[in-house]
Amino acid sequence: MPKALDAIAALRGKWSGVTDRASLDQPAINVPAADLLAVLGFLKQEQGFDMLADVSGIDWSPGVSPRFTVVYHLLSTTDHEYVRVAVDCPSDTLPEVPSAVGLWQGANWHEREAFDMFGIRFSGHPDLRRILMWDGYPHFPLRKDFPLAGVDTLLPDLEVVAETKTNAIAAPMAGGPFVAASGGINMTNAEPRAKDESWNERRPKPGS
């Protein structure tokens, strides 16, 4: 895979902030948020990584700094190689990175998804709205402090809510899925249990 490594070597000469990122497969780099668009543009226009395969957010859980990372996977449609570009959000409370929509139209929906799921804002995005959850949903579901079961929330269609008396409630977790945990010698701790027990028969529901 000389192509991707060449590209990274060329990058290093231009931007001193670019560092190698631990990876088990393709070449990966960390980029400071300020250089992100320049680096992505360089990879696209000069190095032939013309397709944006994927954009995903990562939450390294509350208290960790930097908390949010955005990861871009680029693919070269001619050399058939991938490269991974990661950027840490400078702020942990109001995460924001520049938007790549100017480089790839396809980034539009990916960034909307990262905003929807993590609350990461993309400056310069033409239409940063929620995409998977409904407009007005108050939480960011893929953040680590958000329970899998969800929290009690009002549904958007108030007419239907009035008719059915139903709202979004925390899903019952007592029935599983049960997940094995590494408990060492202590088999009681290792017993498979629901990993997210934000509420069950004994504990009150979040948001209620």
């Binding site: 631990a22 990876s23 088990l24 497969d25 393709q26 990966a28 013309d50 397709m51 944006l52 395969a53 994927d54 995903s56 990562i58 939450d59 990861v71 996977h73 693919l75 449609t77 058939h80 991938y82 991974r84 790839w104 139209q105 396809g106 539009n108 929906w109 998804e113 799921m117 929620r130 995409i131 998977l132 959850m133 409904w134 579901p141 893929l142 958000f146 899998l148 899925p177 997940v179 094995a180 945990a181 590494s182 408990g183 088999m187 290792a190 017993e191 498979p192 629901a194 990993k195 997210d196």
Partner: protein, 408 residues
Amino acid sequence: MPVEHIFPDSASRNAQGEFETEKMSLSMGPSHPSTHGVLRLQMELDGEIVTKADPVVGYLHRGDEKIAENMTYNQFVPYTDRLDYLAPLANNMAYAIAVEKLAKLEVPARCQAIRVITAELARISAHMMGLGAFGIDVGAWTVFLYSFTEREKLYKLFEELTGARFTTSYSRIGGVSRDIPAGWTDRVNAFCDQFLPILEEILSLLTRNRIFTDRTVGIGVISREDAVNFGLTGPNLRASGVPLDLRKDKPYSGYEQYDFDVAVGTKGDAYDRYLVRGEEMRQSVRIIKQAIAKLPGGKWYAEDARKIFAPPKEKVLTSMEELIQNFMLVTEGPQMPAGEVYFEAENPKGALGFYVVSKGGGVPYRLKIRAPSFCNLSILPKVCVGAMVSDVVSILGSLDFVMGECDR
């Protein structure tokens, strides 16, 4: 007595003397016969012409990525069935290979070949469904009945192999759930032999059908540049003239051993996308035949992957070693190294990618699913503008998406 003329000369006409019209907004979906699933298109129309299209997705967002963070790698396999529920066998394989890449695990050649056979059968099944639904969208009901008959034959084969019609969970991390039954490959061969003439018959119902060509040729043209720019993959990308096929260009699971051609379109319209899918099914049959002809012997799972793959049940019940292995796997989960991998497989709908971030242990820290349908649909605001409302139906049918993986 003079009658009142409701259109006086001066009213509702602009400077050119044309009637002033208002833009109409039309919400198509989320429940609509021609949306393959729960897609909603919020459109703005000028008469019959679409001036703005805003797809609203997320009506089938089930939280798969959050669920993945809350269970072990093995437990997530059934959820991959339900991403692209027209080709679960291919999804299982993509997920299994992604996690195997994380574990640096090589599966035996037999396992790889079995996976290729199942993935290509899944491709035929998915394209058959896409064809049938496309046919219905443009008014050809017969194609659906023909293609579903073939799908039922495939389901019979899947059921014999995996125990389920389409929620198969067949490829597991480190192998496949069981070896192929005796005589199954013969039945697959027999299916392929009878399928080719039927495929030609089905395609002949559409390829030169005047109604079909009128509704697809030159409709929904996606240029080569746009296709790459929007991250389209699979048949939709190839129909626009980009010969990117991960089976050929980044071979996995032993695809490099098989001889097949990549179908590429020239115009990038709905008709090209239909033609590419038709050709892909022929190529799939070619791959299946080759894979069966040189199906290697040996194990169907990686025997050395003791902390990842559960041994066969009869061994668990009779041998101490395997019993312990099974016990540890259930109580501790498969043990993975820390790190991150990204793997894309060429699924029927396009490149299905899994980005796995692991901190070690049995549970993924973050699992991002790169859904081909999600990327393929993101081009709708561009390609629908300027089309007629009825063309939108044809465009949706030709893009052949599944909301299960689009919304995850």
